[in-house]
């Protein structure tokens, strides 16, 4: 007969085995990206594969990010723009469009949650906007943008990201606002707070964690968006995903080390943001006081 403790042990072994295998599969590409970014040229394609760079080198980073000595004249000159400019473009575009989406989205969500300014059907239609594949709207959008002079501008990309992520912002923040009991707001109102005061002093602080989570979610979308950026930007405001893609079809051959160094640079800012706000992400909601 299998005892209870034995059964627990077997189940733990099985669970951890599955998790470990899954973990290796999931993390291997990230490990490979990191390791390749530190490899000297000859180890990029080496067979049998080189798992640990020997010796580790920063040449790839120097070349890609700082436009080191050979940037202009060597075979590794892929893009006309240095990645630092793209990094700046990506930062400005992703952060401002995300900020706008969350700010407007949460105001709209408040209206929906408290005043039903949009019916359920309208809310669903709003989400439906996201179900249209971006490729479908790319052609008309670029025509409009060309006519309006918004092609290849930061503001153009900010606008389109803001509008395409707004539905997510509304849906996500609405679910957080719905969690704030109406009575808490009414308590503030009857104590003398105006509606705006109530929103800023009671509602927003209470959904802070939710706002932060929404912000990060949308930031990830806008930071790594590729298709719209490809069509709307040309040479002036190229973003990091566009830069990265240039390595894929490059006429200069596969420069994996440089590509990996660039990829690491794209990944790190999001990780930093994630680390800064992890407290909020983990905390979620703890309305200790509201008994239902």
């Amino acid at each position: 007969m299998v005892t209870k403790s034995r059964r627990r042990l077997i189940s733990a072994v099985v669970r951890y085995t599955i998790l470990t295998v899954w973990g290796i599969i999931a993390f291997f590409p990230i490990y490979w990206m990191l390791s390749t970014s530190f490899k000297p040229d000859i180890q990029w394609f080496a067979w049998p594969p080189v798992y640990f760079p020997d010796p580790p080198t920063l040449t790839n980073y120097m070349n890609v990010w700082l436009g080191a000595e050979q940037y202009d004249q060597t075979q590794y000159a892929i893009s006309s723009q240095t990645p630092l400019v793209s990094l700046w473009n990506s930062t400005v575009i992703a952060f401002s469009s995300t900020f706008l989406a969350v700010a407007f989205g949460s105001v709209l969500a408040y209206g929906v949650s408290r005043y039903r300014i949009l019916s359920e059907a309208r809310m669903f239609q709003l989400l439906m906007l996201r179900m249209i594949p971006p490729i479908v709207v790319v052609a008309p959008l670029s025509l409009y943008y060309s006519a309006l002079g918004l092609l290849d501008t930061r503001i153009g990309l900010i606008m389109v990201y803001f509008l395409t992520t707004l539905p997510y912002a509304v849906w996500m923040t609405k679910s957080f606002i719905d969690e704030v009991p109406r009575e808490v707001e009414q308590a503030a109102e009857i104590l003398g707070a105006s509606r705006w005061r109530t929103v800023f002093e009671i509602v927003l602080p209470l959904i802070r964690s939710g706002l932060v989570a929404t912000f990060l979610f949308i930031l990830i979308l806008t930071w790594s968006e590729y298709l719209l950026a490809l069509i709307i930007t040309k040479t002036q405001v190229s973003t990091l995903p566009i830069e990265l893609s240039k390595y894929q079809g490059s006429t200069e051959g596969r420069v994996y080390g440089r590509q990996a160094a660039l990829a690491v640079g794209i990944t790190i800012p999001l990780m930093i943001v994630g680390l800064i706000i992890r407290k909020h992400l983990a905390r979620g909601f703890s309305f200790g006081m509201v008994r239902r």
């Binding site: 009991p181 009575e183 808490v184 009414q186 308590a187 503030a188 109102e189 009857i190 104590l191 003398g192 707070a193 105006s194 005061r197 009671i202 602080p205 209470l206 703890s286 309305f287 200790g288 006081m289 509201v290 008994r291 239902r292």
Partner: protein
Amino acid sequence: MARIELSSLNKTFGSVTAVKNLNFTIEDGEFVVFVGPSGCGKTTTLRMIAGFEDPTSGEIRIDGRVVNDLEPRDRDLGMVFQSHALFPHKNVAQNIEFGLRMKKVPAQERIKRVRQVAEMVRIAHLLDKMPSQCSGGESQRIALARTLVTNPSTFLLDEPLSSLDAKLRRELRAECDRLHQELKRTFIFVTHDQEEAMTLADRIVVMRAGEIVQVGSPMQIYSNPINYFVADFFGSPSMNLVAGSIVRDNGVARFRSQLFDVVLPERLRTASPGKATLGIRPEHVGIGDDANSNTALPVRLVEPLGKDTLLYFDAGTERAFVAVSEGLRMAATKVGERLSLSLDSGQMHLFDAEGRCIRAS
């Protein structure tokens, strides 16, 4: 000072009528309790007074001034919610201080008044804590303090005690009573608990299906229920209600049912024959008085409560017929034992087929 008048007040939500033609005046300094089963419109009425719901028609006046169009914050009211509705991200002192801050009271003054009120409701030791660190009873005291500190003319209390356990409820009930005595303000209290209504109110307003059924002092409501519903709602254990009919037998009016045959007292002799319900409170049923017996029933259950003993008799219906015996004298009564019961004819109530109380003519 606040005298609150509700005139021809109506509220509908879509096709549902929550409050129907309410006319009622709450006098200054009065403690009024709205009581009734859930969905009877009592909370909607309170929320209309507070300004959170707009009446579909009718007027609300506070001290003669129509307030229908005033925002909640401009009505000089304080409200305590069932869920306490404390601000979870502010500590207790900040919670209490909130109303003063909105009224732009200077900081020094605020600190002083927060402390005063906290001492008044005995939570001074909690001022630095977060609401989530406080128990249910403490939270309700904080909610009370937060309202008290703004010194409103009227306190609106929406089932403030219903989320607490029985002991705390009694404790806070006494607290509400004490505050009312001390502050001499108008209190409007909503509850579905008849015991709360009985112990707190100067006047009770019984509501059902959006309408006022009866208004009166606790004793009036208890001793002279206007209909079957009120009779059944008030009292614990509730009134015994026996279905039967009024008959005339040799010129004498009697109430007869399967198990009871009672000669009606003088004041009810003129009652016209027909279907009726006899009501009698458990404390007005005599046990074991064979000489004046109206019926004899088998005991179904004995509940010794210490101060007195409840005896549940099998009356052939789902609901038992209840009698109270003082002390523990009857505590050893065997289940199934048949005892004779006598009804105090002076305390009998009769309700006609529509449930209305049949009054003496």
